[in-house]
């Protein structure tokens, strides 16, 4: 039989990760029965494994993004992601193979990019995903919505717009936090082809934290924002993330 010195660290790692064959497994288990030090080595590995699982069993959910990364990350990637989906959706709808330029900074051209891309479609069906509470971004998103709906006010049947808010973005549709309740009211009154949808999961999380959520009267609650977005993407809607 092997002694404890016969088993390398790699072998014991593979043992706790269930990466060895039955014969070797049986050999190690038998050795463990007679060797307390070997048993301790194995148990330490199991403890580490358990500790990693424990550490991430309940990962924190996004609530208040820290300012340290907000400016750098927020201004770049979501817009690239939005562009990717936008181009994907357009490619699907029009059958055109489009390439995405991931190096161009799109943060200052998001609205124009969206409008230009949308203009290539016949029927404009757009889901605008709001996941930030940043006032400047919300302002840009509402400006895009106003521009899109306004440019088709004589042919409203050509445009459908859904504004889906979740996580931090729910603040746009909350009566006590929305920076633009009047603009939302105007849009809803002026156009019947726009919907403002609030994610019930986000509402539930806020309520669990003791926050009483009151939505603007124009907002409608949906079960899950991401599910709704995936549904729309499958139906060929253009997705723009703010």
């Amino acid at each position: 039989m092997n002694t404890r010195n016969s088993f390398s660290d790699e072998q014991l790692q593979a043992f706790v990760d269930d990466e060895i064959d039955i014969a070797e497994r049986a050999e190690i288990m038998e050795a463990v029965r007679h060797d307390d030090e070997l048993a301790c080595r194995v148990c330490e590995l199991l403890q580490i494994k358990d500790s990693v699982r424990l550490a991430y069993r309940e990962p924190e959910l996004p609530a208040n993004p820290p300012a340290s990364w907000k400016s750098g990350w927020w201004s770049g990637t979501p817009f690239r992601a939005a562009a990717a989906v936008l181009i994907f959706a357009l490619g699907t709808v029009t059958g055109t193979a489009l390439q995405m330029n991931t190096t161009d900074p799109l943060s200052h051209t998001g609205g124009k990019l969206a409008s230009a891309a949308i203009a290539n479609q016949e029927l404009k069906r757009v889901v605008l995903h709001i996941s930030t509470a940043e006032s400047q971004r919300l302002d840009q998103a509402l400006s895009d919505a106003e521009e899109l709906l306004g440019s088709y006010k004589d042919r409203p049947e050509m445009v459908q717009l859904e504004v889906v808010a979740n996580t931090e973005g729910l603040s746009l549709l909350r009566a006590d936090t929305s920076p633009y309740p009047e603009r939302i009211r105007r849009l809803a009154q002026q156009f019947n082809n726009v919907s403002f949808l609030a994610c019930s999961r986000t509402i539930e999380k806020l309520r669990m934290r003791g926050i009483d959520v009151h939505l603007l009267p124009e907002a409608r609650v949906i079960p899950g924002a991401l599910e709704a977005i995936v549904d729309r993407m499958q139906e060929g809607w253009v997705y723009i993330r703010v």
């Binding site: 550490a55 990962p59 990350w73 990637t77 992601a81 991931t102």
Partner: protein, 178 residues
């Protein structure tokens, strides 16, 4: 394409928690983890046609997540700030319970591991991937997977030993493997 898209959508619903857990363990920033998962969702649907083996969809989604993470690291390397981690972990109870101390310590230790080691240990311990699957996801040889796991666990062991030098936990659990 349609079947793939439907499958991917189903898998995204099933695997969302796992993807978030992984993303969070890599970046330790809730909102960033959420962004990475959402980017993964978008790219998975966009590239549905590229999924060759539908049985390996979990690994395929994880590979996309890993690529999203690499993209983020490439463009935001200068923003990484491990010292801020403690401020983002769960608040401790007033009497500072031991469980939360372990969670904080392990998270901080994992955050300090090199990217490669951090990814490997979380892929095996949180997502339950085999070494071979991890090799494919990260495009590295199995030997590298094993050596990274080994180094990562040694570092974690040192951190946990410092926390509890008595090692009573290990001895108390010997029965588990008999």
């Amino acid at each position: 394409m349609f079947n793939n898209t439907r499958l991917i959508r189903h898998e995204l619903e099933q695997r969302r928690q796992m993807l978030y857990q992984l993303a969070y363990s890599w970046c330790h920033q809730p909102a960033l983890a959420d962004d990475l998962v959402q980017d993964t969702m978008v790219k998975a649907l966009r590239n549905a046609k590229q999924l060759q083996n539908t049985k390996a969809v979990k690994a395929w989604l994880t590979r996309i997540l890993a690529n999203c993470w690499y993209d983020h690291l490439r463009s935001n390397r200068d923003l990484a700030d491990i010292d801020n981690l403690s401020a983002e972990t769960e608040p401790r109870t007033e009497d500072g319970n031991e469980r939360q101390d372990i969670i904080d310590r392990v998270r901080k230790m994992i955050a300090q591991l090199p990217d490669g080691q951090r990814q490997v240990i979380t892929l095996v311990d949180l997502a339950g991937f085999s070494y071979a699957e991890i090799g494919e996801i990260l495009d590295i040889p199995i030997g590298t997977v094993m050596s990274r796991i080994c180094r990562a666990r040694k570092a974690l062991k040192a951190a946990l030993s410092e926390f509890d030098p008595r090692h009573d936990y290990a001895r108390a659990n010997i029965r588990r493997i008999k």
